[in-house]
């Protein structure tokens, strides 16, 4: 019995670095969280060795999260061959769903817009007001735009959401250049050397790697969408990770940890109403 959470992914990654066998642990997993599932996909992409880090076991893939993940084809998901998930044209709520973003303009395509609407509708079905649900949708749009514009991920980006009564969570993950390298491409931030510092800088208003036009308001929308809610945020890039729990977030709060290096950028946003289950349980 075991549940694949982001904490476990970090432990597995450390074990891999120390050449300790982890395959047995993975095959014994029976449950998974949204964030654990997607960060594990990034880790497997980075390790690129099935013998070291095996695919997810059938018990996990049989879960609602696992089944939804199998619907998409992505190097970061459970299936890398076969047909891509077709465009779902209705906007009915789903409990869990995944979407692959591939290309600079993937986050303005009709299939993405329907996915985004389904997420907002799912948050409403989970008990959030339309205003809050649309704010969460706007936050997801910002993170998806960032991944498409800045990540330079060789595997695209993978997006997932999971809603249950009183709780809505989404993740956007990629295995691209990460926040540090992206920000350092701007002369104003070329002095940054630590992933933690780059993450912290990126969360601030007005900080962007774009030189010719203003930007840097994407994370503001994430904070704004959660302002009066109970939330849990996780931003992981390279060897930096910032997590925030509570409400009324800004760029200065949160705990900083230093996990093993992971390529790209992984964002998790979890929001719950007063009566929702613990946000952390979906991380």
């Amino acid at each position: 019995m075991g549940r694949l959470t982001v904490e476990l992914v970090e432990e597995l990654q450390q074990a891999v670095r120390l050449d300790r066998p982890v395959a047995g642990h993975v095959t014994g997993l029976t449950d998974v969280t949204l964030a654990g599932l997607l960060e594990y996909g990034c880790l497997r992409y980075a390790v690129a060795d099935n013998a070291v880090l095996p695919p997810l076991p059938s018990a996990v893939l049989a879960s609602p999260l696992g089944q939804a993940l199998r619907a998409v084809r992505s190097p970061l998901a459970a299936r890398t061959t076969g047909r891509q998930k077709p465009h779902v044209r209705n906007v009915d709520p789903h409990e869990v769903e995944f979407h692959v973003l591939d290309g600079d303009e993937a986050s303005v395509q009709p299939d993405w817009e329907d996915f985004l609407t389904r997420f907002s509708n799912s948050a409403v079905a989970a008990g959030f007001t339309r205003t809050i649900a649309d704010g969460l949708g706007a936050a997801l749009q910002e993170m998806a735009d960032n991944a498409c514009e800045h990540s330079r991920s060789p595997a695209g980006a993978l997006v997932g959401y999971h809603t249950v009564a009183g709780t809505a969570a989404f993740c956007v993950v990629d295995v691209g250049i990460g926040v540090l390298e992206s920000l350092r491409s701007h002369p104003d931030y070329a002095h940054l050397h630590l992933h933690r510092d780059a993450l912290r800088a990126a969360l601030r208003d007005g900080v962007s790697c774009r030189r010719l036009e203003p930007g840097g308001t994407g994370f503001r929308q994430v904070f704004k969408s959660l302002a009066d809610q109970h939330g849990h945020l996780r931003f992981r890039s390279g060897q930096g990770c910032i997590t925030m729990t509570g409400s009324h977030f800004d760029a200065t709060v949160g705990d900083e940890t230093f996990p093993e290096a992971m390529p790209g950028f992984q964002v998790t946003v979890c929001c719950r109403t007063g009566g929702g289950v613990s946000a952390v349980s979906m991380i």
Binding site: E105, S107, V108, T131, D134, G135, G137, A138, Q141, E142, A144, D145, C148, E149, D205, G206, E213, P214, G215, G216, T217, G218, R220, Q221
Partner: protein, 185 residues
């Protein structure tokens, strides 16, 4: 002209990439307006606007409007208070100012964005007299100790910020506010 933004672009204006697309659409919708026209951008039917969208759509729109080939004066009307903090932030980052009104063709608007003290004094002076040239302001306000050339420079700055309109009278430019009353923050 009153442009119904919600009807033209949608009820949720979010994301940089959507903003870029919507900037092009706004230019297209406003392209037939004659130079010097005030265009009211009506956000009454818009539920949500994000900072990224404003950066990608509204910031370049104001620059496009200030181009002498277009010479339009956008006024935002019926914006929801929820996104005014984002508008103020974008105004600060982009060094722009926006006029914000209520109703269909408001005579009064709130200024969002910063003016330097000289620009602020000039706007207040012009709001008092409704229209003037730089030379007239020098004559009317001797106590300010500002020469006509300096008044004209400030008036031109406010014109480029799309806060004043102007018409040529002989060798002079005569300036007037885009709306009769401006509330300065």
């Amino acid at each position: 002209m009153i442009l119904n933004v919600g009807e033209s672009l949608g009820k949720q204006l979010q994301g940089r990439l959507h903003g870029r697309r919507d900037f092009a659409r706004l230019c297209e919708l406003l392209s037939a307006e004659p130079p010097g026209a005030v265009v009211f951008l009506d956000f009454a039917q818009v539920d949500l606007v994000t900072g990224s969208w404003l950066n990608a759509a509204l910031v370049p729109l104001l620059r496009w409007a200030a181009d002498e080939r277009n010479d339009l004066f956008p006024v935002i009307i019926n914006a929801r208070p929820e996104w005014l903090d984002d508008l103020a932030l974008v105004a600060e980052f982009a060094h722009q100012c926006y006029l914000l009104g209520e109703g269909q063709t408001p005579r009064r608007a709130v200024l969002v964005g910063s003016l330097d003290p000289g620009q602020r004094t000039t706007l207040e002076a012009l709001l008092e007299v409704a229209e003037a040239t730089g030379a007239e302001l020098e004559r009317q306000r001797p106590g300010d100790g500002v020469k006509a050339t300096a008044w004209n420079n400030r008036l031109r700055d406010l014109y480029e910020k799309r806060l004043l309109r102007r018409v040529r009278h002989g060798r002079e430019q005569r300036y007037s506010p885009v709306v009769k009353e401006v509330v300065l923050g």
